[in-house]
Symmetry: C2
Subunit: 335 residues, 2 copies
């Protein structure tokens, strides 16, 4: 295994773009709808919305809506709207997460809280949440609003649990998984479910796509958590090491504390209690030598396999193949 | 005019309860739906939800949904759901407003930010926003989601404008009204519109009820802004004077700066720039003697009259009479 798996994961993510070539037109349409829905007659608000346009990230969630649709049937006029909705929810959570984490950089741009203050960031996040639901309600039925509502409810609950457990050095693995399933996997799951449902898929297929998105989301979050310890800010374009500074326990740390030898655990606890920026570097060798890092990647790979297995319900197609590759990319170059 | 109009307004508000006797059962049902929708399997989240139940306020917005319904036709099973939705949106904005204002007391209880920190308050507000839309989507059509979405979009925009103009001592009256129409009147307007529409009212009546709610909301916010300067925390149960401390200009101050004599304006600007808690007491006589206070109440009364006039479209009924009294209460004992 590489000594810098996080860095390599990030590199692999940047290569996702070409995978999305078959849905490029619909992704662009989703982006147009996103900007159009959020536009404001107030120049201050408009400037904030445009700033968040610079957050242009991986577009993972809108891509999942569109790829799931294509793999289950065909992309309709509703899909780019749904893709814009899930991206808007995701962007709203990023804006609020940056307040919680006191982050100052996001995708190589200043965070809203760093540039305009926490108050503006709170309100801009709200503005995006309410616009997302307003946009979802532009569709014919209440189905999308209901599913997106349920998913974001669980998302917020997961985030609240995470804040609640900050500084809790006894957080166990089950609680960690409950948190990341809420804060990350609910939205990737509902993205796939919506893509399938609005392409005319039956309940069984919708369930399978939900499971694919859920397992992919969990694997993705594990990779993100590893990246927070091993990544480089220059490459990732966001503030790193915030999990440790905020005493937010993630799987490598939890594993170390649960299974390391007493002396190592003792040192790790001391470093976590200090909650300094440099603790990150001093914890890395402990996590690597104890096997906690390997363990984390193993878990991620297990979820990737579950995600891919869930796709068995679908007939072979180019889009299904992309969904498989997408899941594999999450933990690429780590084995 | 009394020397303490704010205090008297608050006293009058506490007497609103008896007015709601005809809709008491439906208000209780709305309260039950509110708590049921927000319940969580996580004890920490559940405790937060229950804490906000202690915010039990005037229940103005749910009462508007139900009274508008009764005045336009009859209360159906949808109305208590809608009443719970608008109260949930309102509570979400209160939780987030308390972060913006750094308030520590709300309705005689600690604010969420004061008790559990800003991070938890951000997430609890989000949790309430998403649950409100999830609940709205439980109705048959997307109409409620669309109207509530549009209203909350404008609400957030109004709040962002307010934050943007903090410290701007040149804020004019038109901008102030644009802000309070967004942050307060959109939600009271949509409450009345929803009540009317789901009672089977036609477009003309829905428009009239929207106008009633909008004008009542504006008058209500003017009264609130006056209360922030003249009220007593003991009576109102919330942190006061925060507008001045945050250099958030409201109508009495705007009027004073626009129409006071140069010496008074100069002193007022100096006090506003100091932004101290005691500035509030030193500004009061300037606002009273310059006529800026009277002017503010006059504006509030004008909006109350507009609200009542909008009800002309309705036939006489007990509920219509309550809506009239409700509008009058906003500025009661001030003339």
């Amino acid at each position: 295994m590489s000594k810098h798996p996080g860095l390599q994961v990030e590199e692999s993510r940047r290569t996702l773009g070409p995978l999305f070539a078959p849905i490029q037109a619909e992704l662009a349409e989703a982006e147009r709808i996103f900007q159009h829905e959020l536009r404001s007659r107030f120049p201050f608000v408009q400037a904030l919305v445009e700033h968040c346009g610079d957050y242009q990230g991986k577009r993972l969630r809108p891509a999942l809506v569109l790829l799931a649709a294509k793999a289950c049937g065909r992309i309709t006029g509703d899909h780019p709207v749904l893709a814009a909705v899930v991206e808007m929810i995701h962007t709203a959570t990023l804006v609020h997460d940056d307040i919680l984490d006191e982050s100052i950089v996001r995708r190589h741009a200043a965070t809203v809280n760093a540039e305009w203050g926490n108050e503006t960031a709170v309100l801009l996040g709200d503005y995006m949440f309410t616009h997302a639901f307003h946009l979802a309600a532009s569709l014919d039925s209440t189905q999308a609003c209901r599913w997106i509502g349920a998913a974001t409810n669980k998302l917020c609950e997961g985030e609240m649990q995470q804040v609640h457990h900050r500084g809790n050095l006894d957080l166990d693995e089950a609680s960690y998984f409950a948190i990341i399933e809420g804060k990350t996997a609910e939205l990737t799951a509902v993205s796939c479910r919506l893509g399938a449902h609005y392409a005319g898929a039956d309940d069984e297929v919708c369930e399978a796509l939900d499971r694919y998105g859920r397992c992919l989301g969990i694997a993705f979050q594990i990779a993100d958590d590893v990246l927070d310890i091993w990544g480089e800010e220059r490459t990732t374009g966001k503030s790193l090491g915030t999990d440790l500074e905020k005493q937010k326990l993630t799987i490598p740390i939890i594993r170390l504390l649960e299974s390391g030898d007493p002396e190592t655990v003792d040192l790790a606890r001391r470093l976590l209690n200090e909650a300094q920026a440099e603790s990150r570097k001093r914890l890395r060798p402990l996590l690597e030598e104890s096997g906690a890092l390997d363990y984390s990647w193993e878990k991620a790979r297990w979820y990737v396999k579950q995600a891919i297995d869930a796709l068995d319900v679908l007939p072979p197609s180019d889009s299904k193949a992309v969904l498989v590759v997408l899941a594999e990319y999450v933990v690429r170059r780590t084995s």
